[in-house]
Structures are given as C-alpha cells and as structure tokens.
Assembly symmetry: C2
DNA sequence: TTATATAAGACTAAAAAGGTCTTATTAGGA
DNA sequence: TCCTAATAAGACCTTTTTAGTCTTATATAA
C-alpha cells in the first residue's frame, strides 16, 4: 500500500539529473534516460507531460532536449509526484465514485484528510536543489550546450 | 498516487462494525458485508486473512461469524491497512527488485523513509475504539449472540 | 536539405486489483 | 443422526491500471 510508482521513480531521478546540470543546461532524453535507468520512449512521454505543466522546458531539433522549467529550489518532490501520478489521495472514499455519501458521517474521513495534508507537506518541503546537493557525484561537470545563450 | 484501496476501505468499515457490537459480539459475514457495502464473498476472504493475523476471530457453523481478536482500543488503522495491503512503502526503490543499488547513495531514499514513518505513526494512533466512538449511529444495540458465554 | 531532436497519440503487454465460484469443514439444533 | 447455517480454502475470472512500444509528425541547427 502507498507504493511509489516506477514512473515517479524514473521521473524523480530524471529531474535530479537536470538539476545537477549547470544553470539552464539542456539534456537529451537519451542522457536523462541513461541516468535514470529508464526506457527512452517511456521517459520521453513523462517529460512531455512535465513540459505542459511547466516544470521542464523542451527544445526540438539538433542540440535539443529538456531543461528545468524553473529554478531547482522551486521544484519539489510534491510537484513531480503529483505531475506524474495525479493528486495524492483524491478526496473520494473510493465507493460511490465521485461523491461519498459518508462525507459528513464517516469517522475515517478526517483521518485520510490528515494523512493527505501531512504527506503533501512533507514532500512539498523537499526541493530538487536539496536532492541534487545531496548527490554523491555529478554527471559531466562541463556542460554540453546551453540554451540560455542563444 | 497513494490511493486507498477499495479493499482497505471495506475492511475498515467492516472492522468498525465489529467494534460497534457489544463486547465479544459475533457478526456473520452477511451482516458485516451489508454494513460495509461490500460483496459477501470478497469481504469473507479479507476477514479470513484477518483471522490468521489475529485481529479477528472466526467461528464456523450455525450462529458463527467473526468478532474482534482483541479489544477495539488495541486495533489501529495501521493494523488493518497493513493486514489488507501489506506493509506501507516497502523499502525497495522499485528498480532492481529486492535490493536497491542506491541504498546508500540515493538522496531520495531518506525522504521515503520519513514519509513511511510519518504515515505509520499517524495511522497507528487511530484506534477502532476511537472510530467507533465517532460513529453517528450504532447498528442493532441489542446484541445477536455472544460467543464468550458458551 | 539532411540529420537530430522532441510531440503526439495509437497501440500492446503485463501486473495488480477486485471479485466470483466451488468444494470442504465445522457446529448447532431438530 | 442428519440437515442447515456458517466460515475456510483456493482455483478461477474480469477489469483496471501500470508500464511500455511504435509510428508518424514537426521543429531546428548546421
């Protein structure tokens, strides 16, 4: 129960990789997937969604790839996890899809609400910057290309 | 992500039902399933597992059924949730099933560990007794049968 | 204009969740 | 003793979700 999806795992590692690059460093999906140990096509799909959500930016064509959509200090695990797998603990009671007839009477309801809040708070406190800073080794310290200088 | 399984939902409601009964009250799976709004066969399977784990006791034959395996104050949401769906956030990193090569180096690892601890602590604090006490109405205040008087 | 990238989305395979059904086994009561 | 009411156990099935591939289009730099 409450398992982390492989998708989230890949996504997080991929994002950490981007955060490790020098400011505005662009990485190809090939490199990112290599680091994250994920299939290229699969990770590409994930990052395409991230692009739409603004947590990464994408560039097509030769020398293209992905880079962080905002500073690593402004992207949290919560952002990533919810971008990948949707909101944590949707407020349904599972039964009676959508609206739960127990909303007001069910004594378990407030417990899940608490759990949800705690979880979100915890993950919201962990930034990519912090994660990248805790990485033991950096990939290619000398940056590939740099989209901000165009 | 981190959704509650329907199984856990059924199980919790079924257990609350048992906790609402007078001390040592036995209820048939039919009654429990009715209250939990779950299929009889499905809930039976869940409760059979609970029986093995000791959080309920079962009695076969006429007048049989299930009752709590220990006082409602000694059974928590954590007990139920982990009995149904297995341990919260198994310590794998998902990749490299079993042992994660990143155990020592991965900076995300300690975060999941924290999350796991928080979650377990939160759920471990909520007893069936408390949940039953917060229920708006009780089912059949006059008990059916009572296995302790045999 | 060609090689190198991502974009988009249809499609598929595998695993997990949710659930049913059948055949024991056990216990109580007529 | 035999019938009925109950759980036990486990094989089986269906649906949904997860994880992933593949193809075609589009953009861009050299």
């Amino acid at each position: 129960m409450f398992q982390i999806s492989r998708k989230a795992d890949y996504a997080i590692r991929g994002m950490v990789y981007l955060a490790l690059k020098p400011q505005d460093g662009v990485a190809s999906i090939k490199d990112i997937a290599g680091f994250a140990e994920a299939s290229r096509a699969f990770l590409a799909k994930i990052f395409q969604q991230f692009n739409k959500m603004g947590i990464v930016k994408s560039y097509r064509g030769t020398g293209g790839g992905f880079m962080l959509g905002r500073p690593a200090g402004d992207i949290t695990l919560l952002d990533i996890v919810e971008a990948v797998d949707g909101p944590i603990l949707g407020n349904t009671c599972l039964l009676g899809k959508g609206t739960c007839s127990r909303d007001t009477t069910c004594p378990v309801h407030p417990v899940w609400k608490d759990v949800r809040q705690e979880l979100r708070a915890l993950l919201g406190r962990v930034t990519l910057e912090r994660l990248a800073g805790a990485m033991p080794e950096t990939p290619e310290p000398s940056g590939h290309h740099n989209k901000s200088q165009q």
